[in-house]
């Protein structure tokens, strides 16, 4: 029939490729991982020498909370992250916008960023100690440095992606340059900048352990290091779980900030 009329009926092929939200899925994924892990530990498949069981990790966390050290560790780390991330982000936003707007800043900045970004911040630790001592300053600086470069790159790429037509239109309405930056470029670049925030907040958490290697009495990073040195693997994993929870919390907060800042879309 179809051949006769020369028309082939085409089934609707759209749909899919649109990941939505399943509220139960994240909980189920975590539950499955933890249940599998506990099962392996309980059956002896995973000896305690190699990996502590989730139950032991929870016990270690409970112990930490009961001793009152938990708040001290988390508090010390949160303040370092807050300072380091804020300083790195503010500086990175400033430099990134400059590189996104002015040719000279961009031409000079890109090679410098490319040269300095890949330096492992841990390698700079002895220098940071010489310059800044062993108190809070080098710890904050380590995190700030790690956050700075990805913020710069994320910001100037985001500025690049602001549609030029919008900028030209603003110019044709005779808006002054500062107003264009504030009203067109900043909101236009915001999605890219927020994506950079997601990356830099994780980098800040990763660098926490490195930052707290030197002279830290309290902090999640120093707690993890000490647990590793003491071969207390249950506490080591408990510290890692704390970092994960912190990461989840920050990711959740950023999601909220994103929804609020980008509701114009």
């Amino acid at each position: 029939m179809a051949e006769e009329t020369g028309q082939t009926p085409v089934p609707f092929r759209g749909g899919g490729f649109q990941p939505g939200a399943r509220r139960w899925a994240p909980w189920a994924a975590f539950a499955a991982i933890i249940a599998g892990w506990q099962l392996a530990s309980s059956t002896g498949l995973l000896p305690p020498l190699i990996m502590p069981s989730p139950y032991e990790v929870v016990l270690a966390l409970g112990h930490l909370a009961a001793s009152g050290d938990l708040t001290e560790h988390v508090g010390a780390s949160l303040s370092r992250i807050a300072w380091g991330w804020s300083i790195g982000t503010l500086a990175g936003l400033g430099v990134g916008f400059a590189m996104g707007i002015w040719s000279l800043a961009r031409s000079a900045g890109i090679p410098v960023v490319a040269a300095l970004f890949p330096i492992p911040k841990i390698a700079l630790l002895p220098l940071l100690i010489l310059w800044l001592g062993i108190d809070e300053a080098p710890k904050i600086a380590t995190i700030a440095l790690g956050v700075f470069f990805p913020t710069v790159i994320g910001t100037y790429s985001a500025v690049d992606n602001v549609p030029r037509s919008l900028i030209r239109m603003a110019q044709s309405f005779n808006l002054p340059n500062p107003a264009i930056v504030w009203k067109v470029i900043l909101p236009g670049a915001m999605p890219g900048i927020l994506a950079a925030f997601r990356i830099t907040s994780s980098i800040a958490l990763i660098l926490l352990v490195a930052a707290e290697m030197i002279g830290a009495e309290f902090g999640i990073g120093s707690f993890i290091l000490a647990a590793g040195n003491l071969m207390q693997t249950d506490q080591l994993v408990a510290g890692v779980v704390l970092l994960s929870i912190l990461g989840l919390t920050i990711s959740f907060v950023l999601g909220r900030v994103e929804a609020w800042l980008l509701n114009w879309r």
């Binding site: 305690p48 020498l49 002895p126 100690i129 010489l130 001592g133 062993i134 290697m213 030197i214 002279g215 830290a216 009495e217 120093s222 290091l225 000490a226 040195n229 003491l230 071969m231 207390q232």
Partner: protein
């Protein structure tokens, strides 16, 4: 065809002989250690052929930190290890994979091995003796390290709380040296050859020696629990070679003259070139003499001291309560251990 088969059979036979030959000739053992003078008996035994005399074929693996040595033995990658006794070691031993079978270095009266040092700034401000520690900051490598323990024992002996000093983990010895030189910490504990060099260069001041305050069993020789149960004969052979070498070391480096000062005679001069091949980095005869600890000639442990160490670490929350020293010390390989606790 037949010829080919014959050749194959002959080759297979040859390979079998080649594989079986050395296995019958010597037991292969892997020894893991740090390149410190405190590991000396291991090196002496290798150089003088004591392992070979026992039918052992040693292979050395060197590490830069004590922890990997203990982990290597626990995982079965190493047969024997010697390191300082840390809280991390005890926690690992408490999991049942390790057995202490003999002694390594001991902090013994008269033998400079670890010094209390003050930064120049702190020294000028009054940190001239160990009584002045309360209120000062002390750099150490890591939480639960031997430095941490020695500071804790000093606090006990001198009657101040360990919480009265601020302990700063610096992760490595070079970081500790940098921090005391620049005055960012008031004090560090440091091994003798580095401490004497720092003091001599005017970079920091030695204000006392650990052996004057709290002598203790600093290091031990250990093997895996599996070796003790499954390859006992091999462990006994190893101990025999180790003790011969420790006796040589004793004659060379453990000597005091009648005034209680250390003397190094011809025996030391004969051993130093051997040790220079193993000890790093950039060894000199003077550094080896300065860094040589007291090592028991027979591998005898101060057993009660190990129990005391575990108890101290437990009291300070550094070792798990479930760790039981009697479960990971095997006294059957060496006769005449000191201070064995009664049952």
């Amino acid at each position: 065809m037949n010829n080919k088969k014959l050749v194959v059979a002959a080759l297979a036979g040859l390979i079998c002989v080649a594989l079986a030959g050395p296995a019958r000739a010597a037991d292969k053992i892997v020894i893991c250690a740090l390149t410190f003078v405190s590991s000396s008996p291991l090196f002496i035994a290798a150089d003088k052929g004591y392992y070979a005399d026992e039918g052992l074929e040693p292979e050395f693996k060197f590490f830069r930190a004590a922890q990997p040595v203990a982990l290597g033995v626990a995982s079965g990658d190493c047969d024997f290890g010697v390191t300082g006794l840390t809280a991390g070691f005890y926690n690992l031993a408490g999991k049942g994979a390790l057995k202490i079978i003999g002694a390594q270095s001991r902090v013994e009266p008269g033998f400079d091995f670890v010094a209390y040092m003050a930064s120049n700034k702190a020294y000028d401000a009054g940190l001239t003796s160990v009584e002045a520690y309360p209120g000062k900051s002390v750099g150490m490598t890591q939480v639960g390290s031997t430095f941490h323990y020695m500071m804790g024992r000093l606090a006990e002996k001198r009657g101040f709380a360990l919480a009265d000093v601020t302990l700063k983990p610096m992760q490595s010895v070079p970081n500790m040296i940098a921090a005391v030189k620049s005055g960012q910490v008031d004090s560090i504990l440091m091994v003798a050859h580095i401490a004497k060099a720092l003091d001599g260069a005017g970079a920091a001041k030695i204000i006392g020696w650990v052996h004057q305050e709290t002598p203790w069993q600093l290091g031990a020789l250990f093997t895996s629990t599996w070796n003790v149960t499954e390859r006992r004969e091999m462990v006994e052979k190893f101990i025999a070679a180790y003790r011969r070498a420790a006796t040589d070391y004793h004659a060379a480096f453990n000597q005091l003259d009648k005034d209680g000062k250390r003397t190094f005679g011809e025996a030391a001069d004969a051993l130093i070139p051997i040790l220079m091949n193993y000890v790093g980095p950039k060894p000199t005869p003077a550094k080896i003499k300065a860094g040589a600890p007291f090592i028991d000639p027979d591998g005898r442990l101060r057993v009660q001291d190990i129990y005391d160490q575990v108890a101290w670490h437990k009291a300070n929350g550094l070792v798990d309560d479930s760790v039981d020293p009697s479960a990971f010390i095997d006294l059957s390989f060496v006769d005449g251990h000191y201070d064995v606790p009664g049952n």
